[in-house]
């Protein structure tokens, strides 16, 4: 345990970062996934290749981007290509090992919704929409998802399926012959959920230190499956925390510009 206290969000980002293996080619969503992927790059995975859907390949930003197309991403990239090229040749072309996504809603089979809460025509909340997510979910070798765990987010039934996870579970995803195997982990501020090898239902396999199991169950909108051998996530190391906080401090300074 580090002497330094840490927040649940920090634990989430650090746990998500750890899932990314060194050398992996990662298609990075903006926000939480981008923070985790860059933390990975700055700690255990210096050779990770970060691709942003704005067409930047091999970005090595010094500060986290606010938008998916910040200048920092282009300036530090090995190559910058057009939108057509990034989606057709690189993502659809099968060059991505890991798609790293956020979500507004997720169901037990890791299908995700980033489109609307409520009815499509008369939504209670209109979200930004699909962006790159549906095809990231279909074409990446595997998919990591990171979001905060609440009953509003972890729902029995999605209001809208924006991106296909394991569909109805079991082999149901296979009908689409996607090149990628779909979500392999969901990393939240409370723990890590992974799909059951057979049913594909998300199962809590690791719980973050100090989080009561009841809290995770309560934060899940379906009867949560818990692994018989539930692990406890290793707490953040001093190094992980320092690198993450330095990154976030640099980011805050860079984005605190005046009008």
């Amino acid at each position: 345990m580090p002497d330094t206290p840490y927040t649940a969000d920090e634990m989430m980002t650090i746990a998500a970062a750890r899932m990314l293996r060194n050398g992996a080619v990662c298609f990075v969503g903006i926000g939480l996934p981008s923070a985790a992927a860059n933390l990975a790059r700055l700690t255990h995975a210096p050779e990770v290749v970060l691709i942003y859907e704005s067409g930047t390949i091999g970005s090595k930003p010094d500060v986290l981007p606010l938008s998916i197309g910040d200048g920092e991403l282009a300036e530090t990239a090995d190559a910058v290509v057009s939108s057509v090229e990034i989606f057709s040749y690189w993502l659809q072309g099968g060059r991505i090992d890991v798609g790293f996504l956020g979500a507004a809603q997720i169901d037990r089979f890791a299908n995700i919704n980033t489109t609307v809460i409520g009815d499509y025509k008369t939504p209670s909340t209109r979200l930004p929409g699909a962006g790159g997510a549906p095809e990231i979910a279909a074409s990446s070798g595997e998919v990591l998802i990171t979001l905060r765990q609440t009953r509003r987010a972890f729902v029995e039934k999605l209001d809208f399926v924006t991106s296909t996870g394991h569909l109805d579970g079991g082999n149901s995803r296979e009908q689409f012959h996607f090149p990628g195997k779909g979500p392999t982990a969901v990393i939240t501020d409370l723990g890590i959920l992974t799909p059951d090898p057979v049913t594909k239902e998300l199962t809590l396999t690791s719980i973050h230190p100090g989080v009561p199991l009841e809290k995770v169950i309560e934060a899940t909108g379906w009867p949560l499956k818990v692994a018989p051998e539930l692990r406890t996530t290793a707490p953040p190391t001093e190094n992980e925390l320092r690198v993450l906080r330095d990154l976030q401090a640099r980011t805050a300074r860079a984005h605190a510009d005046e009008l």
């Binding site: 282009a74 989606f87 057709s88 699909a130 962006g131 996607f178 009008l259």
Partner: protein, 282 residues
Amino acid sequence: MLQLSEAIRQHVHDGDVVALEGFTHLIPFAAGHEIIRQGKRGLTLIRMTPDVIYDQIIGSGCAKKLIFSWGGNPGVGSLHRLRDAVEKGWPQPLVIEEHSHAGMVTAYAAGAAHLPFGTLRGYLGTDLPKHNSNIRFIECPFTGERLAAVPAIRPDVTIVHAQKADRRGNVLMWGVVGVQKEAILAAKRAIVTVEEFVDRLEAPPNSVVLPSWIVSAVCQVKGGAFPSYAQGYYKRNNAFYKQWDKIAVDRDTFKSWIERHVTGTKDFDGFRRSLNQEAERA
């Protein structure tokens, strides 16, 4: 090499299908403002990532339809004017046709290539096709595989911002170049605003150059992508994006902001001055 106001007057007509493209970078804000200033009506707007400039155009009542794949204020949140138009019909109803990014780039590429449709591995298992009859499925004539198809995008006019043009009107852009070239080549007419005119482009080999003869008008608007950015010229003004959330959340605040800074000014220089004066007073 025209005044922007004249270019918009000549090339953007009420009822047109209009794409103002730019993927976070080089967003043609100045041109969008001129559309608002001239009170264009009944536009079908196309863009992968409608953001603040589309929020402004939609909130000003210029548009009847939006074709898009991700609508938000990047890194900040919702587009309140877009939502108000879709959900409450204010100031007028907005029909949406919603895609994924992969679908949009495929549709633009098909438009540029003068094909009626494009094919992609996409949309399978999602609810998008249920709400969009322009997402269909076809079979590969060789393997029998099922693939998604989208119709080509062919705007009446595409508008983009770029870094520079030479005196002959050849345009050079670099950095995050998004789908701009395809959007230009897919369109019947094209307007480009640039940061500066130069005697020689000095384009590196294989860079993104739009030859003068595919562009209808090139207009110099220094800072014309503000508050987005122009690589090599100025950075993204993240503070504006954050501030926009507060302006756009309320109809009256929005209206008075547009009246004060956009319709109440003559051009983009006027807009920037008006904004600066307000900031100094605050």
